[in-house]
Symmetry: C2
Subunit: 199 residues, 2 copies
């Protein structure tokens, strides 16, 4: 039997889904309370401000992405893990929402980075952590001789992360599929690998 999640987790999950379906600014506290079935006082007990809900939602998504990445590393190896994790996450959200709704981090970055400093800084930390994790994988691929001559692992990590965010954003705008996002990211990964590795 599933245990009913507690009020804090219900708030975070509900806000995460509403922000993805619409936007951060477009969703009100009262609506989150109704959908999560909590009283306003309970919500403010856990989250004194909407920005704190935003940060908790980002942490929740980041932790989920990390878990998918770790699982994908086991399935597809370290250098293919990003493509595997993006496949899992975007296909999952496509199924749940019936369309591409964007990257939860990218969405809030685009909407809030100029106005909500705390959220921007939180996002910067999450993106930096991903870039660092990717750079380790790219560095190991370089040491194993699978990267083309002249490829810098740090720049490769940054390029891959930018491609993920850009491909998801364009798919959201152009109503494309998760499979097309995956093909875009995989294409850029392959540009960095020796042709004999990708053949």
């Amino acid at each position: 039997m599933d245990e009913q999640p507690g009020p804090r987790e219900r708030i975070v999950r509900t806000a995460a889904a509403l922000f993805l379906a619409r936007s951060y600014t477009g969703v009100g506290i009262a609506e989150i309370c109704v959908a999560a079935d909590v009283r306003k006082g309970t919500l403010y007990h856990f989250f004194p401000s909407k920005a704190e809900i935003g940060r908790a939602v980002l942490d929740w998504h980041a932790a989920a992405f990390d878990r998918h990445f770790t699982r994908a590393e086991r399935d597809s190896g370290e250098i293919g893990a990003l493509v595997g994790a993006v496949t899992r996450v975007q296909t999952g959200m496509e199924g749940r929402f019936g369309r591409i709704v964007g990257c939860p981090m990218g969405n809030l970055a685009a909407e809030l980075a100029t106005t909500e400093t705390g959220i921007r800084e939180h996002l910067a930390g999450i993106f930096a952590a991903w870039e660092a994790r990717l750079a380790v994988a790219c560095g190991r691929a370089g040491a194993a001789g699978t990267l083309r001559d002249g490829v810098d692992p740090q720049r490769m990590a940054r390029t891959l992360l930018a491609q993920v965010e850009g491909a998801i954003l364009l798919a959201k705008a152009q109503d494309r599929t998760a499979a097309e996002i995956v093909a875009d990211v995989d294409g850029v990964l392959r540009l960095h690998l020796r042709p004999e590795v990708t053949a």
Copy 2:
């Protein structure tokens, strides 16, 4: 002596700046009227809905980007024009706003694609036009023998566009500079070119 722009153009320019500085949802019609120095009735005469202001702002940005691209083609050649246009546009906005505020198209795509169908479709058309223009440039580079073996010009165009959007989005989140965005896009362009071309 500069001629004072008419009310329609003042509304579009003002809304464009306010949307970039904050977001679409975060800016109200009343505020646009005050900042553009027009009455509400005048605004509604030109734009019966906020979404129509959004579309006009997107057209205004897209036309500006096209002009920068055309100028960059003359300066840097067709295949370098994207990097040149991104340099001009992002450096210009960085100077005006004092920070990276995002791609005007990408920002509205992230914020509105799931809720404002008319704006999403408008954005999809603008992105498709850019992709087509880039694909022509990539196709000509391929015919001239400057692309690596196996590079598909259509996919290359899509990759470049995604990289532009992703690099700008990450720069906005991580408070990076226009110069870093340009380096990211240039790096991905070079991955597609024969090494002897980029040396």
